[in-house]
């Protein structure tokens, strides 16, 4: 039986890979595990290995070709076997090759492979990726049938209406709830594709698909040390996803960092003033809400900081959607305050509270973590003075906020003043934002917080 | 229409009255008036919408109830009652207040409002309850008789039922078993000429239901159910027989109900003339006459006894009105022991 050799997917955002060179030729006899070609993606070189003993045959791509992941690049056949018939591949990926074997897909950020071949706006593609939507199932309303963001949203709405429900057992639903998984993104192995408990558990554990050959190694197996046993925590689930994204961001986006101390006296006063005017029974305005508002204001003044870098294009986003990082037991999630520049403080405040709570209980809706254009991370409550965060792609900036604490600073006449200072660090993607812009943006944030009334202007 | 039955001999009547004595006799007369008052009051309350469900009045049958129950050791012997049983309740000596309260479905009723008219019981005094099922108590009487025999007491059980019950299969099974084992049970049939609308002539091929006793080789007797002493006589003798270990007796008491089967009975199956005819055999004036003749009461006392009977019922209604409705929180009480 001819065994397919497919182009493996090494990174979660990886959609294609380029063949650097073939290490064997048509007809070569190989053993399972032998490296047969070198491929590259995002400047990372990897080797593809033979998935079985046999003879290499039917090589479909040459060095220099860009191959969509999971596409068949060759076969391993046995003596006397034929290579199966397949249309020759074109440069524009048009194959509909399926992965070697269906398996539970990691919870987040894994759109089906068939999405790759469909025309869609980057936003639509990103949203589809986040929701696990197969773009080939979505009707496009854009030019020449291109799928827009609205199209994906409509599709999602239709799915959640009656009839589009996920078939899943109560036990699977419970596991999905417990691990904040989206059932729609779990492949079901039960009858009629039903999601069983074991599928949900696997998604939670985030097993990799058994790819054909040469995949990036799974979490390294640590051999038992005789003198004592380290506690092994496999890199799985949300942790793994975060790890991959952070690595990608850190490697790809050149971060430049700006740190500034902000005098929060007036912000404190303003907050007190505002809260005295909050009607009975309404939530008090928090400092987080004020920081979100100030940041949104600054983003309006420096729109380049409110942009996406995707597909070698900088897209200055029309809406200011500020994400707030919320710590979870086993990771991190970033619910978004949409249109933060247009919402009042009370509304922002109540959204902050609601979203954080639901983030912690695992009840966020997909649209609540989508479309963020900038992220704020606040470790002040952990007692941290200053820290740095890694940018959340495709965003280009992230603000790390430390605690507000009294420090002595010299006054006008060098007299010591005890002021409530908050140290914030801005990280921006240097491919998009230069030093001056970054600095200006950050000082705008500072100005907004040091003179809250100026936000009204 | 069966009504020809031998009247009790004068000597025997006098003997019985002697046995009963003036005090008890007066009590019996008052019980009969109280029964009539109870039934009339029940009718009134139902008409006023103060009670619900179904109700089976025994107006006209008071003599049967008084004669049968007083012939036994009420509270020591066992009573199994039927659905037209208010008279038997009263004659057995059960508390009129609690009977009325149960009739009105109140917590202070014998059954805490759970039973109603058809299921009133006074278990502590061996009144094992009225029964909503025709012939329902007849097989239970077998068990009561067996229990008495096994416990070796001199108790007797009496089970009341109507003419209709004598055609249920359970009647035959039970009489047979009681006969075979010589159980100390009195099978007392109040033949008021109609089951519901079914006249006895149409439901039986025998002239007297008591004839069926011979099928089980036990004594059977038909008496004038509207003559207290005739009934008292028959039941006393049957009780004596039972206590002596000679087994069951089937007694048929001929009587008549003045009202329909239940409230919803339009009585299309009988004539006004027939009702009038039987009303002339009203058991209460007949017993009153006996007592007057025996010098147990005067005319004034007779009237006073009547008034006392009616007064008793007024008191009972007052008691029942003051009794609370059962608490819904106790809805599921008493299902299991």
């Amino acid at each position: 039986m001819a065994k397919e050799i497919i182009m493996p997917k090494f990174g979660f955002t990886m959609e294609e890979s380029t063949i650097v060179q073939w290490l064997v030729q048509e007809g070569a006899v190989v053993e399972q595990g032998d490296p047969i070609c070198e491929v590259t993606t995002d400047k990372i070189n990897m080797e593809v290995e033979a998935p079985a003993d046999g003879i290499i045959a039917g090589i479909r791509y040459q060095a220099g070709d860009v191959v969509p992941v999971t596409d068949i690049i060759a076969w391993v056949i046995q003596e006397g076997e034929q290579v199966p018939d397949m249309p020759a591949p074109s440069k524009i990926p048009a194959s509909t090759a399926e992965p070697a074997a269906p398996a539970p897909v990691p919870a987040a950020n894994a759109a089906p492979a068939s999405s790759n071949n469909v025309a869609a706006t980057p936003i639509a593609r990103r949203m589809a990726e986040a929701e696990g939507v197969d773009l080939s199932q979505v009707a496009g309303s854009g030019p020449e049938g291109k799928i827009t963001r609205e199209d994906v949203e409509r599709y999602l709405q239709d799915q959640s209406a009656a009839g589009g429900k996920v078939r899943a057992t109560p036990a699977a639903r419970r596991v999905a709830r417990e691990h904040s998984l989206d059932l729609a993104m779990i492949t079901g192995t039960g009858p009629r594709g039903r999601v069983q408990e074991v599928d949900a558990l696997a998604a939670a554990a985030n097993k990799t698909r058994p790819a054909a050959a040469g995949t990036m190694a799974a979490a390294p197996m640590v051999s038992i040390v005789p003198s004592g046993e380290p506690q092994i925590i496999p890199l799985e689930g949300m942790r793994r996803t975060i790890a991959q994204r952070l690595q990608a961001s850190y490697q790809q986006a050149p971060h430049i960092l700006f740190t500034i101390d902000i005098n929060m006296s007036k912000a404190n006063e303003f907050r007190k003033y505002a809260n005295e005017r909050v009607p009975e029974g309404q939530l008090r305005i928090s400092m987080t809400a004020i920081i979100v508002k100030a940041t949104a204001w600054a983003l309006r003044r420096y729109p380049i900081v409110n942009s996406y870098l995707m597909d070698d294009r900088i897209m200055i986003m029309p809406d200011v959607n500020v994400g707030m990082a919320v710590a979870l037991e086993d990771g991190l999630i970033v619910p978004v305050i949409h249109h933060a520049d247009q919402k009042g403080l009370m509304q922002i405040g109540s959204e902050v509270v609601d979203l954080s709570e639901r983030a912690r209980t695992g009840h966020l809706r997909p649209q609540e973590v989508a479309d963020g254009t900038f992220t704020i991370s606040n470790l002040g409550m952990y007692g941290i003075d200053q820290f740095t965060s890694i940018i959340n792609p495709p965003q280009v900036g992230i603000l790390s906020v430390g605690r507000i604490a009294k420090r002595f600073v010299p006054g006008e006449h060098d007299e010591p003043l005890a002021l409530p200072l908050m140290t914030v660090t801005l990280a921006v993607d240097h491919r998009v934002i230069d030093g001056a812009v970054g600095a200006n943006f950050l000082t705008a944030v500072r100005d907004a917080l040091e003179e809250p009334a100026s936000v009204l202007l | 229409m069966v009504d020809s039955v031998q009247a009790i001999a004068k000597e025997r009547a006098a003997e019985l009255l002697e046995q009963i004595g003036p005090e008890t006799a007066r009590e019996m007369l008052q019980v009969m008036w109280a029964t009539r008052a109870f039934e009339e009051k029940a009718e009134e309350l139902y008409g006023l919408g103060r009670t619900h469900g179904t109700m089976h009045l025994s107006i006209g049958q008071e003599g049967s109830a008084a004669g049968a129950n007083y012939a036994l050791r009420r509270g020591y012997d066992y009573l199994l009652n039927h659905h037209r049983g208010h008279g038997h309740m009263m004659a057995w000596g059960s508390d009129v207040n609690r009977t009325m309260a149960e009739f009105l479905g109140k917590e202070g009723g014998y059954c805490r409002g759970r039973g109603g008219s058809m299921h009133i019981a006074d278990v502590e005094r061996n009144n094992l309850g009225a029964n909503g099922i025709v012939a329902g108590g007849i097989p239970i009487a077998v068990g009561v008789g067996l229990s008495i025999k096994l416990r070796k007491t001199d108790q007797v059980g009496i089970v009341m039922f109507g003419d209709g019950a004598a055609n249920e299969g359970a009647f035959h099974e039970s009489l047979n078993m009681a006969a075979v084992w010589d159980l100390p049970v009195i099978y007392y049939c109040e033949n008021n000429q109609y089951a519901m609308s079914m006249a006895v002539e149409r439901a039986f091929t025998v002239e007297h239901i008591s004839q069926r006793a011979c099928a089980y080789n036990i004594p059977g007797e038909t008496v004038d159910g509207n003559d207290v002493l005739s009934v008292y006589d028959a039941v006393s003798r049957a009780a004596a027989r039972a206590r002596a270990g000679h087994g069951p007796t089937l007694i048929e008491a001929l009587t008549y109900r003045w009202r329909g089967h239940s409230r919803s009975d339009r009585q299309l199956y009988r004539t006004r003339d027939e009702i009038k005819e039987w009303q002339e055999k009203d058991p209460i004036p007949r017993f009153e006459a006996r007592l007057l003749e025996a010098g147990f009461i005067t005319e004034e006392e007779a009237k006073a006894i009547r008034d006392a009977g009616y007064q008793r019922i007024e008191e009972a209604v007052a008691f029942a009105d003051n009794s609370p409705d059962p608490d819904v929180a106790t809805l599921m009480d008493g299902i299991y022991a």
């Binding site: 699977a172 039960g190 | 278990v123 097989p139 068990g143 099974e173 039970s174 008493g334 022991a337």
Partner: protein, 331 residues
């Protein structure tokens, strides 16, 4: 270690009756052909010799009379144990059981007590055809005021019988003809197996099988077979169907995530529906990983032909197959 004392299910019942009658003069037996004949299935054999005809009472063919007799005797201080010769004949006792025995206490405001046991053999497998093979337990489960007990083995038979005799409520005690000759460990002393106490007859992890009466034995046989395939089923025996102790069933389903209910009686309107509904409404719902399945008697009368009869109710191989399919995710 001495050999555990083994009696048949029938001997266990007889011993329970005997010991109760020896120690309590309120207990007596009543039924058809229970005296010299020893009972249609032999349960009361020899008891008339020991206790005499007064306490082992043969009756005419009068099921209504028998039911009324135990009711009346129980209401007046006795603890009778009646026998209905075949469960099928209890249909003639229904008025006394449903409208009198079950309801007297309630109707009288909690006053009377009706402590009797009415024993009856039910079930098919003896070629006795449609009118001598009934499983009507769910009729009685539907009548509050009664208790319904179905022992599945000799140990439980004696223990549940003694518990039933000393329960103050009317107990419908349903034996199975095919169990009478099965053996089990039965201690000599008087012991009670509490009513309303569900038993986990066998622990397992892959699915829960709730079974009653003879189906418990069949489920255990199926379990042994399936263990060889690596499938471990948990067998749960309610023992008392009314009032039902459902907590162990719910706990079991939470553990295994899969439930198969097996009973001989006709499926439609059968006890399996009650269990399924309770489990689906409980905590266990969030742990169900497959639909709840029932394996029951077919919706038909029991046929005379032995082979047809065999196929009318669940057999060991049916339980094996259904359990295997459920465990392996076929549903």
């Amino acid at each position: 270690m001495p050999e555990p004392r083994e009696l048949t299910y029938m001997e266990a019942l007889r011993e329970g009756l005997r010991q109760a009658m020896e120690t309590d003069e309120r207990v007596f037996l009543i039924g058809e052909d229970i005296g010299v004949y020893g009972g249609a299935f032999g349960v009361s054999a020899g008891l008339i010799d020991q206790f005499g005809g007064e306490r082992v009472i043969d009756t005419p063919i009068s099921e209504a009379g028998i039911a009324g007799a135990v009711t009346g005797a129980a209401m007046t201080g006795m603890r009778p144990v009646g026998e209905i010769q075949f469960m099928d004949f209890v249909t003639l006792s229904m008025e006394q059981l449903v409208l009198q025995a079950a309801k007297v206490r309630f109707m009288f405001g909690g006053k009377a007590t009706v402590p009797f046991v009415l024993r009856m053999p039910g079930g098919s497998g003896t070629g006795a055809a449609a009118q001598h093979s009934e499983s009507l337990e769910n009729w009685f489960v539907h009548v509050p005021g009664l208790k319904v007990v179905m022992p599945s083995n000799a140990y439980d038979a004696k223990g549940l019988l003694l518990a039933s005799i000393y329960d103050d409520n009317p107990v419908i005690f349903i034996e199975h003809k095919l169990l009478y000759k099965t053996k089990g460990h039965v201690p000599e002393e008087m012991y009670q197996v509490p009513l309303s106490s569900t038993n986990v007859a066998r622990e397992g992890t892959d699915l829960t099988v709730v079974a009653t009466s003879v189906m418990v034995q069949r489920a255990l046989e199926a379990a042994a077979q399936l263990a060889g395939e690596g499938i471990e089923i948990e067998v749960v025996d309610p023992r008392t169907l009314l009032p039902l102790d459902d907590a162990p069933i719910i706990e079991s389903v939470k553990k295994t995530g899969k439930l198969l209910i097996v009973h001989e009686a006709v499926g439609t309107g059968g006890f399996g529906g009650e269990i399924a509904a309770r489990v689906a409404a409980s905590d266990a719902f969030d742990y169900l990983d497959a639909p709840i399945r029932r394996l029951t008697g077919k919706d038909m009368p029991i046929p005379y032909n032995r082979m047809l009869e065999y196929h009318t109710v669940p057999q060991v191989e049916n339980i094996v197959e259904e359990a295997r399919k459920l465990a392996q995710g076929a549903y």
